[in-house]
Structure formats: C-alpha cells, structure tokens
Symmetry: C2
DNA sequence: CCCCCTCCCGTTACCGCTAACATAGCGATT
DNA sequence: AATCGCTATGTTAGCGGTAACGGGAGGGGG
C-alpha cells in the first residue's frame, strides 16, 4: 500500500520510505500494472481518438493538436483508424470503449446506429470533431463544411469567374467532402450559376490524380475558367499541370483547394485554399475532455471555428 | 461464466443459451470490460508501436503496414509518439509497458539505457524497426541506412557528378539520417571525393525549406553539380526551385532524395530517390509479433530489406 | 497526565473478469 | 443398473492494484 502511495504521489509518505521504495522499484525494474490499477480505481488515463485515416495529412495534424493539449494532463491519446468505413468505426469504438477510456474524440457526426448508441451510453465525455453540420451526441468541435464550400463559391464569383468545375473524391462516406460540395453548389446557385462540369477520383497518389483529372476535365470542357478541388493535394496536382502546360493561372483559369496544407508551402505559386483549423480542432477537443472532470461541465458544447480563406496566387484579385 | 464463454467464443455453449446471452447483451448495450478481462487472463490484445513523429509521412505508412498485417489477428496497435526525444521515448515506453502489451514495435536502435533495460525485461516480443545498423534488443526489421547512403553515392559518381553537396536535417537525434550521411560520405571517399558543401535545417515546411536551402547552398558554392537531400520533401522543394530558376536538371545539376514518397508522384519531373520499404517494414514487424506465440520462435530475428534506387529524371543516364 | 490531532503506514475488501475445477444431465456401454 | 463419457453450466479463487478505513507513534494544549 505504501508502495502504491509512493508511485502515485498520493497521500503522505515519509521522505525516507519514499526513497527506499523508489530505489527498490528501480533496482527491480518494477513497472506498475496499470490494468490492475485501472480496475481497482475505475480510472483510466486514456482518451480514445477515432479517425478515418492517417494518410490524409489532415488527421495527423489534428492528432498533433490533441497530443499537445493532453501533454501535461496525464491523459494519453489512443488512436484508432476506420478507413472511412462505418462498420470499422463501430468495431474500433467498441474495442476502445471496452478499455473504459476517460473520453472519446471521434471524427464526424455520422455513425452507425449502434455506434451512436454506444457513444450515448459510454458515460464519458464524447467530442465529435471536424464538422458541425449536424446533430452531435455530446460536444462538437469543428467547422461548417457546407459554409466553407459556400464561401468559396462566393469568393470565386466575386473574382469574376463564371464557368466553374468541381474536382473531388468519390465520396460515399466522406461526408465532409460532400457537404463542401453541396455548400459550393448552393453558393453558385445563389448567383444563378450551376456547376459547368465535375470529375471524381478514388485512390492513388493525389498529386498525380490532380494532374490527370485536370487534363480530363479541361479536355472535356475547355471553356472552364475555374476549378475547385476538394482537397489541396489534388489542387496542387492540377496547379502543376497548368503550369507545365503554360496555362495562365489565375488569368485564363483560377484554382482553389481546401485545407491549408502546410506541406505545400513552397510551391512556386501558392494555391488558394481555406484553412480547416485542424490543430485548433484537436486542441479544443482535447481541452474539453481534459477539462470536464475538473470543471464539471455537463457537456454538449458546440464549438464552431471559422475557416480562413487564403487567396494565394491562383484567384485573380480586384 | 457462461456469458464470458459466449462473448469470447470459447468453450462449449449450447446454441440456445448462446443466442439468449447475445440478445441480452445487445439489449443492455453491454460492453465487456477488457481491463478486468486482461487482468484475469494475463492476456492483452494490444501491440505498442512507438515512433518519432506522425508528420513525417514515413511513419503513417509504416503504421498502415502494421495495421494491415494485424487486421485479422485480434491484435490492435496502440501508437505512441516521441517527437525524436529519447526521454519522451522512455516515458512513452514505460507508459505502454505498464499496460502489458503483447508486443512492442519501436523505431530505431538507439534508446536510453533505461528504455533498453525495459525492452529487455518486458517479457514480450520486441521489434526494432527502420534500421539495421546496430545491435538490437530482440528482433530487428529495417534497411541499412549507411548502405543506402553509400549506394546513392556510388550511383551519383557513376553518373559522372563530382562536385556534390548534401542537404539535410539537423540531426542530433535522427540517427537514420545521420547514418545515411555517414554512408554517403563513405561512398564518396571510396572514389576519392569529399563533400563540396552541406546545409542543414530544422523545423518548418520541408518543401519551403528545400527551396531556401537549395538557393543558399548554390549561392555559396555555385559550381556544385549534384545535391543529395536527406528526404524527398526537401528534395522536391529543391527540384521546384531549380525548375523555377531555369536550371537544367539533370544536366547542369543532378538531384536525389530519400524515401520514395508516393505523395510526390505527380511532379512534372520525378525526383531520384531510394525506396525505404516502409509498408513492408511495418508488415514484417507485425508478422513477427503476431506469429511469435504460435510459432514459438525464440526471437532475435534480423530482417534486412533492400531499398531500391529509383533514378527518376534527376540523375543523368549513361 | 490525559486527550486529541497529525503523520505515517497497515488491513481489508473489493474492481470485473477468467482459469481451473466441480457438477449436473443424459445417452451409450457393459 | 451401474459405470462411463460427454456436453453444458456453475463455483471458487485469484489477477495486481486501490479506496476506505484503522491504528500506533509522537507532539502540543489544557
């Protein structure tokens, strides 16, 4: 018992015994068994984080925000990846909840019915992240992808472009991409414009796909004067293709992507984009999980962040 | 007890009771407590994975190999990130071991003394990945970064380049980058050549840094005819800078990076690089962890993979 | 001198599950 | 009918810690 007190820095132990315990622990190479500890104390210092993918670039950034915020709280993130599959999400969530984490951070608002039920009954703070367009189970931190798309449409129209094409992922399960798409079309519709053409892809290297799709769509509809890409990587691919083919950007054709991927800083021409506040989303979500027990919040906060439009060099000004 | 048997598919239970149990579990929203289960059975279906960073692009790929291989084994990866800090690594490892995972996959061969001791005494299979240049604790899966650097040097010299510069990260703790650097200089030395200049960076967007550094080094040493970058992202930045500035690649100057990052497929000019077998490393490591209990291997395997040189378009041929 | 309080350390009873063993039920075998 | 063998289910005792409480030693106040 005294050993337990020393190793957890809890309760009074004399300096003398404390040192003896620590020394003994070190010389034995003793590593306490958190499984037993967690079972006895009903406390687990883990936070489940469930995201669709790690190769998307966006999610590692969110994760980094989460880690940073959790750093000094004694909490530790545990990551699960769903590959955009709702069934996998359900399975991963089940697995995580069976470890009784102190909280769950999960991407998106769309879950299977069973997953939603588990979240509701988990009895710990839940934060759904990335997206605020919909109804959350508990707390929500994100941006409105619908409005992001809408604002981009407005900016494009304000810049004088009229023949607009959309390039994106096939998005059966990427709800956020779909919401941007919907918002974008809505924004165009407000100005009485409809999408002149669109092109979707699946899998493969995004940069290369961006090139291919750009070539395809411009061959099919040569009079397009703007291309809106559903993410920065395919946008960058398109931009490179335009530059290689001597197309005047943003004069002859304008381009924009989405996400504000730092990785692309360093292209000769900066792609117009919209920052999705990824690190910030991670931070806020972690803050909610970490703060809940102390502040005794009842939950259900909804934090909507504002994505910032960065015009870059691929939308003409004035 | 019967419930336990049903939920684990273990032992004989009649079909009738099995169904009753499952139905009851579902209607109660029962999620078994793995903490208690693990404590009682002394078995934990988690594999600790400790890597330096998630933003490096390389590690998510390794992870994806691990996840894929673990998919049907009932084992689940739990990721810890060290930010290239040995102290953080030690802390993360301690935290992980306190959950008594079924195995640990950890990047690199260099650890603090305490970390090494923990690995040795963990009593579960340990796989050190990425690097085989050194002495491992248990199993090792990776490539020889020293030889990767060396081979690149040979290829560059064979192509006729002589005034060679190196651009890389400041690498107090990136041992693999250092080993490539050492191997590279060794390769040059064999041909009686020494590095004509070098430049190091830290932090920031790699693409942008690649541009900056390339400009800096070429301004300082204008007669360089080859630049070897310690990773593909800064290499790509350098490549873009050269293209923007109308420098003839690979005629006037040759370029090469390291890693074979898929992300960059789609640049107009393919950067010479060396594939580091990242997914494969992940797969093999996971295979060792997953296979150990069944096959009763004693451990200590060393699997060295061969990185493949891809000449791309930035080293002149013949 | 007694009482009470504080500081330290020990005792006891779980936490929720599973390994191992015990037992009940029932048909087949001798 | 007694025994055996098998399947299906129940019982018991932990797993390695922690919460909650107990209690001895020492000190200060009345």
């Amino acid at each position: 018992m005294t050993v337990s007190r020393v190793l957890r820095n809890r309760g009074d132990v004399s300096e003398a015994t404390r040192e003896k315990v620590l020394e003994a622990a070190k010389s034995l190479g003793y590593v306490p068994n958190k499984i037993a500890g967690a079972l006895a104390s009903q406390r687990v210092n883990l936070v489940g984080v469930i995201i669709p993918s790690l190769s998307n670039l966006v999610f590692p950034e969110v994760l980094s925000g989460i880690s940073a915020e959790l750093e000094d709280t004694g909490l530790q993130p545990v990551v699960g990846v769903t590959n955009y599959s709702p069934e996998k999400e359900e399975a991963v969530l089940y697995e995580m909840l069976s470890w009784r984490p102190s909280g769950v951070i999960i991407a998106g608002l769309e879950h299977t019915e069973a997953a939603r039920a588990m979240l509701e009954n988990a009895g710990v703070p839940i934060v759904e992240i990335m997206d605020v367009d919909g109804q959350g189970v508990d707390s929500v931190v994100g941006i409105s992808h619908r409005r992001a798309g809408l604002h981009m449409a407005e900016a494009i129209i304000a810049a004088g472009y009229r023949r607009i094409g959309f390039l994106g992922t096939k998005m059966p399960e990427d709800h956020r991409a779909r919401k941007r798409y919907d918002g974008f079309k809505e924004g165009l519709a407000e100005a009485g414009i409809t999408l002149a053409d669109e092109e979707f892809y699946q899998g493969g290297s995004a940069l290369a796909k961006g090139r291919e799709m750009t070539e395809t769509i411009l061959r099919r509809t040569p009079d397009l004067d703007f291309l809106y890409y559903s993410n920065d990587m395919i946008g960058a691919g398109g931009l490179l293709w335009c530059l290689d083919n001597g197309i005047d950007v943003p004069g002859r054709i304008g381009l924009a992507g989405f996400n504000g991927v730092d990785l692309l800083e360093g292209l000769s021409v900066r792609l117009a984009t919209m920052d999705a506040c990824r690190r910030e989303i991670g931070r806020k979500a972690a803050e909610i999980i970490a703060g809940r027990p102390h502040q005794g919040l009842i939950g259900g906060e909804v934090i909507e962040l504002e994505p910032v439009l960065e015009l870059g060099d691929t939308i003409r000004k004035g």
